[in-house]
Symmetry: none
Subunit: 401 residues, 2 copies
């Protein structure tokens, strides 16, 4: 039996609360000078206290050696097998800007980019143009209808946009135009099966019209499309866990993903303190909170070890705002590692702490990669966090007689 | 999705190199007098240095409690689920002697053995006759055609040979004639389904003809057959991992198995030093090396604790020849445990160390069973070694957006 089906059969509503705090890109690698990771370098008295009172372990977001994107990393934390439920980038971006994707709609992620006079890509992100400029360009491209297919082009942030194709006989099985490298031309979109023929034709016609329209708008004089996809059918967290879940996240993609799995997405400010305030305000209305801290991941991607350390310390300082609410279960972890020395997502497992009246504490006294290795939870797949949290919140019935 | 399919979708060629050093039967059990295993008894400064700089763990070749044969033990190290890809002994032996098995051919492993006047087995290995004697007996038996099925009998080493059956309507689903014990008679080969009726008839006719031919050749006055099998279809390592892999192994079975998964099998001397020289000579031409040390396993099977200790020390002494080449990823482990006190393969997990610029070092400072339990890799299935090695060699793309 699928693990979600097992949990679905055992889940029982109760008055207890679970807070899942996700520090994006939490896991790190040692600084060459000190031998300590970002988390080991940061002063984190509150997280250490939580680790000492709780039970710790190391999670693999997908499986050993596999580096997760943000979507699969989070789906795993929510209990979904991220390989089985592989969600296209277009869909996630569309949900993140509150676009109400209908069955049959196709979404793709777009980048404005720069091409030279020969049409070769010189910058896949068009120098990260401003969000305002992006919105202006999206406006220029909007309202097109190609072969009876209606196109909507919507700005996200900086050079990023979403394109939605609405019409009959569309299928998402087409290749990307984004070659994911520079010094080459954008690729033609090709159908991966006959059902997607129309989709490929429309996408290519759009790209050529956009090339003409954008020609005078250097550095954003071209665009790249990837992740053509349709809204997938996912069983929702209320269906599986019988929870009333809420998401506190500032960045669009995470809000979109939370919506997709059936969470109520709360209005919130973007700082950690503001997110904690949102938690407090809404605490009585939900029994599960996903609280997302994004900037740690960005610091890791930028290779800024010190900034990541400071952001972890900031998260630690805000932790009492959460623990003071005394949720029956607190889980603190990340969706993947983003070591500053690696400057990107990585495959390394990352620490997790679970705190609850009913946890069996281990001997771990600090929240760090090297300490959590010896934790009582051992090393395990991230998809097992939700069953563990549910159990400690006394929300799962006994299996079998 | 199958784990191999996941990896196949993410694998990217790169200029980095992986060396997988397999010390056959590496894992042990404590000596009753010292409480230390073979590996813990051996002086292994180079392996200890590697463990201190790298990340360690314990692998289960198949799953806890399951004792692997040599083939599944190695398949797991190469990333193949050894239960799903169960390869017959006959096929592996045939490949090991460079026999070009065609679809439809059936191979079986043979032993010359000794029977008494009542036909009961007194020695399953005929006193380990010389390879020359084995070749002479194979010659005597060769060229038979039984019921239009052509038989080839080919010597391997000492008492071991391979028999190939070539003809129409053959199927490998028959029982062994080898009872795997003494004081009983060889068993009749029986068809396990109707398709294999002819195979059983031919095998039994051959055994009776061989009994007559061998009668005067005591101690090799009879033979035993096992592992009737056909060449399976395995996706190759170049297909899955996009690697250019090479095998450095002296013993035929391991060479055959390496060939089956698409490795280039290199000519090499049989000593550890000679194998290291082969590695150095061929280092620039491949990006993955499987380097196999066999004698540790034989010492364990012989119950010779001291010899196994010495062979581990010999492997340790040769390690700088490998580390001096500075491959981006080094993995040292075994295919299973062969504790000298147990005198055979066993189910015990065994230590593994992975060394790479991108590994997250743990607190393990020595390469041993008891130290590696606390390693950062935890305890995990051997099939995950390849994904981990690929990740650390930066040969895997990110999964999902």
């Amino acid at each position: 039996m699928d693990s979600l089906e097992l949990i679905r059969g055992l889940a029982r509503p109760s008055s207890t609360r679970i807070v899942l705090l996700v520090i994006d890109g939490l896991g790190g690698l040692p600084h060459p000078k000190t031998g300590k990771t970002e988390l080991e370098t940061a002063k984190t008295p509150n997280l250490d206290k939580l680790a000492a009172a709780g039970i710790c372990g190391m999670i693999d977001p997908i499986s050993p050696g596999i580096t997760p994107g943000s979507t699969p990393g989070h789906l795993a934390l929510f209990g979904y097998d991220p390989v089985k439920f592989n969600i296209g980038r277009g869909v996630v971006e569309a949900l993140g800007i509150d676009f109400d994707l209908k069955p049959g709609d196709i979404a793709a992620r777009g980048n404005f980019c720069t091409v030279d006079k020969d049409g070769l890509i010189t910058d896949r992100r068009a120098g990260r143009i401003s969000t305002a400029k992006c919105a202006e360009l999206c406006q220029l491209l909007s309202g097109l209808v190609i072969d009876k297919v209606k196109l909507s082009i919507l700005p996200v942030r900086e050079h990023r946009f979403v394109i939605i194709f609405q019409g009959k006989d569309l299928a998402p099985d087409v290749s990307d135009s984004d070659p994911q490298q520079t010094s080459v031309a954008p690729k033609a979109v090709t159908a991966l099966n006959p059902k997607a023929d129309l989709m490929a034709v429309v996408a290519n016609k759009f790209v050529e019209q956009a090339r003409a329209i954008l020609a005078k708008h250097h550095p954003a004089n071209m665009l790249l499309l990837r992740g053509f996809s349709q809204r997938p059918h996912l069983p929702t967290m209320p269906e599986i866990y019988r929870l009333k879940p809420a998401a506190i996240a500032a960045y669009p993609m995470y809000r979109g993903l939370a919506k997709l799995v059936g969470m109520q997405v709360l209005d919130t400010g973007a700082t950690i303190a503001e997110e904690m305030a949102t938690l407090k305000e809404n605490y009585s209305a939900y029994d599960f909170f996903f609280l997302h801290i994004k900037k740690t991941d960005s610091a890791g991607e930028d290779g800024d070890f010190e900034r990541k350390v400071k952001l972890i310390e900031e998260a630690d300082k805000s932790l009492p705002a959460l623990t003071d609410l005394k949720p029956e279960v607190i889980v603190v972890t990340g969706d993947h590692s983003t070591p500053a020395t690696f400057k990107g997502h990585s495959w390394h497992p990352l620490p997790v702490v679970l705190h609850s009246r009913w946890c069996r504490p281990d001997r771990v006294g600090e929240f760090s990669e090297s300490a959590c290795i010896s934790g009582g939870l051992g090393r395990f797949p991230a998809t097992q966090i939700m069953p563990l949290a549910m159990a400690h919140a006394l929300k799962l019935a006994k299996f079998g007689a």
